[in-house]
């Protein structure tokens, strides 16, 4: 009998003692005793248990895994709020240039002037886009940008002798907002949405008092709707002395059209990996820079990348890391952030320029509205109506509740069935205020044909469910793994593996 090839083995299960993919060459420098290089208490007692595999086994293992993945280079990926736009391949070439890729984090700033200049120029560009002059690139994820924002708010208010205890978040907020608030030591107070999907201004007025440190707001919101009451929100929040924080998750809708700083926001975070292109979704790396107003500037993380004008005429300006920031909230991480991300995002901004960024946002909004109209024309709104009947921004939220009631398939079933049609599902079950929610963000980089096909596929799945709901309930059929036991994985996770 022929043994079956087991595609589910991990790299550790493929390990066989003595197998190697690499043999180091003979040492060609003088050998020094280990104790001289690293004191014994810092060294591990036994060698790490790494998998022992040959090079072809490694290549096949990861090649196999890569083929089982659904990624942006495979198909349409309208994952709401994640901005899965195309990542231009040019950026990879630029990030791979030795001057970028081989730069050491401990390089003396004098020998890293190019990199520091790139970071400074990126700061300037982001500041212009946000409408807020001072930028720190240090936070390395949107969530860390949020934490920086809350810590900056605290530092600013404590410096003024204020001790505030609460932070407001709308009921549509990303889960990271309340998590950040809790981590920052504040109490979360939820603000309701009104019937139009905006922040309920009466509820905001009732909850905004002198104990409130900040309102964290995403605009456009996670419903894909622009907060039309933003000016009144700004007056209410600043009226009680709180700061206004802009969650930049949905910045892709407004780049070059309007600016958070002009709306009155004090602190903004960017998701460079969303709005400014960077392969993401696999766990990173990302970048969550922040831009702040004049009054928040003294508290920014340190060190800051700064440009110094030369003292003598004709000499080049130089760039350095400024540690002399006595009011700073301190470091948020080792070194300055994920530099490769900065290179890609800077390349993106330079490639598009200001008119191009604006066009990207306009097209993102146009694509979302086109797709919504196209879904309407397919006649699916009876089963998956749009949650709020308004012009949407870069994304829109549908409710699968009528579909669940009438066709007996849930949003999850529709999402899984989409996979059989080669489409990555939209974000599901978020925001929480929409029942059986489906959040669709097509992005600006998809063609009309792709959007048309998505609408046709959704219509087809609903038609199929009318005839036999069991088909969608057991989907997907064509993926490497079928319906996963998500509840079982969460209830009884297997988190350790014998090596």
């Amino acid at each position: 009998m022929i043994r079956e090839a087991d595609d589910t083995l991990t790299i550790f299960e493929r390990s066989k003692p003595g197998r190697r993919a690499f043999s180091p060459p003979e040492l060609d420098v003088p050998e020094r005793p280990l104790d001289e290089l690293l004191s014994p208490e810092l060294r591990r007692a036994e060698a790490p248990r790494l998998p022992e595999v040959s090079e072809p086994e490694i290549v096949r293992h990861y090649n196999r895994l890569s083929k089982r993945n659904f990624d942006l280079d495979t198909g349409f990926y309208p994952l709401g709020s994640c901005t899965m736009k195309h990542n231009p391949k040019l950026h990879e070439r630029i990030a791979a240039l030795p001057g970028h890729a081989r730069l050491h984090p401990l390089q003396d700033p004098h020998q890293a002037q190019g990199a520091l200049e790139l970071m400074w120029r990126l700061q300037e560009a982001l500041g212009e886009i946000a409408g807020l002059p001072h930028v720190s690139l240090q936070p390395s994820a949107g969530s860390q940008g949020e934490l920086a924002g809350v810590l900056l708010t605290r530092a600013y208010q404590e410096d003024r002798g204020e001790r505030r205890t609460k932070v407001l978040t709308p009921d549509t907020a990303h889960g990271t907002n309340p998590a950040t608030v809790t981590m920052g030591g504040y109490e979360v107070v939820k603000v309701r949405s009104d019937t139009e999907g905006n922040v309920d201004l009466d509820d905001l007025r009732a909850k905004a008092d002198e104990d409130v440190a900040c309102l964290m707001l995403t605009n456009p919101s996670t419903l894909g709707l622009f907060e039309t009451g933003i000016e009144e929100i700004e007056r209410i929040v600043h009226g009680v002395g709180a700061t206004l924080y802009y969650d930049g998750a949905n910045l892709n809708a407004i780049m070059g059209i309007c600016r958070p700083g002009d709306m009155g926001f004090d602190i903004v975070h960017f998701n460079l990996h969303k709005s400014f292109t960077q392969p993401h979704g696999g766990g990173g790396p990302g970048a969550g820079p922040i831009a702040v107003s004049e009054r928040i500037e003294p508290y920014l993380p340190r060190p800051q990348v700064v440009r110094r004008e030369a003292s003598t005429n004709g000499a080049e300006p130089f760039y350095e890391l400024d540690h002399d920031r006595p009011k700073s909230i301190g470091r948020l991480r080792g070194f300055q952030g994920n530099y490769g991300v900065f290179v890609r995002s800077y390349a993106y901004i330079c490639s598009l320029g200001a008119p191009g960024l604006r066009e990207a946002s306009e097209t993102a909004v146009l694509n979302a509205n086109y797709l919504l109209a196209r879904l309407r024309r397919e006649g699916v709104m009876e089963y998956v109506p749009v949650a709020y009947e308004r012009l949407c921004m870069h994304e829109f939220v549908l409710s699968g509740e009528p579909m669940r009631r009438e066709l007996h398939i849930k949003t999850l079933d529709l999402a899984k069935r989409l996979l059989d049609h080669g489409v990555h599902p939209p974000t599901v079950y978020f925001p929480l205020i929409v029942e059986e929610a489906l959040m669709v963000e097509p992005t600006e980089t998809e063609t009309k044909e792709t959007l048309d096909r998505f609408a046709e596929v959704v219509a087809e799945i609903l038609k199929e469910a009318r005839e036999d709901p069991e088909v969608a309930r057991h989907a997907p059929y064509t993926t490497p793994a079928r319906r996963l036991d998500e509840a079982g994985a969460a209830r009884r996770p297997i988190v350790r593996q014998a090596m």
């Binding site: 079950y429 998500e486 509840a487 969460a490 209830r491």
Partner: protein
């Protein structure tokens, strides 16, 4: 549980919680509608015995494959027991929301609050 049910001997809160009143004590849980909307429950965060709960305020959380949700107290009082068995088998909340899936027992501080809760038919009407 495939079919919705709302037992007549329970009192209901608009945030989809039920209370079984026994003199000046009560048992709390979440309704069939709540567990169905949550989907498969994967984690229950048991509150401390002795903790005070206030009517209409969140006193604990349940996590499903979809989301983490607050659980609201239908009545005020002090927690006298929590359902520890849910730690290993949170799915009991889905399978038997009114029986083995109970969450906490509470010594009521103001039994007259019961008057503000809905009965089964009022609660069911509120779901439509």
């Amino acid at each position: 549980m495939a079919d919705p049910s709302y037992p007549d001997d329970l009192k209901y809160h608009a945030e989809h919680d039920w209370a079984r009143i026994e003199g000046d004590s009560a048992t709390f849980g979440i309704t069939w509608y709540a567990q169905d909307a949550l989907g498969e429950v994967v984690f229950f965060d048991p509150p401390e015995v002795g903790a005070e709960v206030s009517k209409d305020q969140a006193y604990t959380e349940v996590e499903s494959v979809k989301a983490v949700s607050d659980v609201f107290a239908p009545l005020s009082g002090e927690i006298t027991a929590v359902n520890d068995a849910l730690g290993d088998k949170p799915e009991t909340i889905n399978e038997d929301p009114y029986g083995e899936g109970w969450l906490v027992k509470v010594k009521l501080s103001d039994p007259s609050e019961v008057d503000s809760l809905m009965d089964a038919s009022e609660y069911q009407a509120s779901l439509d």
